[in-house]
Symmetry: C2
Subunit: 121 residues, 2 copies
């Protein structure tokens, strides 16, 4: 009875090489800009934080709405933006949707900002 | 005769803990959202990429303007946004300004997206 919600646009998976690496093409830059646009909002950052730090790596949407002084539709909108950016995914179980981060997306973003290790001791 | 350009708002240094870590406060989320807003633009992402991968870790502004079909004032605007977000810094040497990324800012963003290491072998 569980149903994985559609992820319309997994943009976060588009980025691979670090910023200090090879020249970034226009298409990759455009895809990546969409991911950062999704993260360029305090509420969405806090949502990702709550989801990423949830017990067992997931959080029920019923526990997310209570954490903000915002209406449920507003929270749903922000969650949809994060889903479309490929940062989180949701799974419906009965009444509620449970969200978790997509680890590959976060790992790729982490690698994007990685700098070459210093070779000197 | 060299002059370090002002960095008006070193927001990138505000973020420390990973998204999967402790609860992020509203103030930290707001600061961090500004940094991601600076990165939520394809031209600015490509600028950071060119600067981060420049020889010796820096790039003359004279070499940046030629890489885009944009006017010099437009490039200057984008560089200012990146400076204000605490992602890059510029140093004037004679006629030209040389830009480099601020390593601490990128390292902190990399850490932000780090996930806890799996403890299973």
């Amino acid at each position: 009875m569980s149903k994985l919600l559609d992820v319309e646009d997994v943009s976060a998976s588009a980025c691979c090489a670090p910023l200090s690496g090879p020249v970034m093409g226009e298409e990759e830059a455009a895809e990546l800009a969409k991911v950062f646009k999704a993260l360029a909002d305090p509420v969405r950052l806090r949502l990702v934080n709550l989801i990423a730090s949830g017990p067992g790596g997931e959080v029920c949407v019923c526990d997310l709405t209570g954490a903000f002084e915002l209406t449920a539709p507003t929270i749903s909108h922000h969650l949809k933006v994060l889903r479309q950016a490929g940062l989180i995914e949701g799974e419906r179980r009965g009444t509620w949707v449970y969200y978790r981060v997509i680890p590959e997306a976060l790992t790729r973003l982490s690698g994007l900002f990685a700098l070459p290790a210093l070779t000197s001791a």
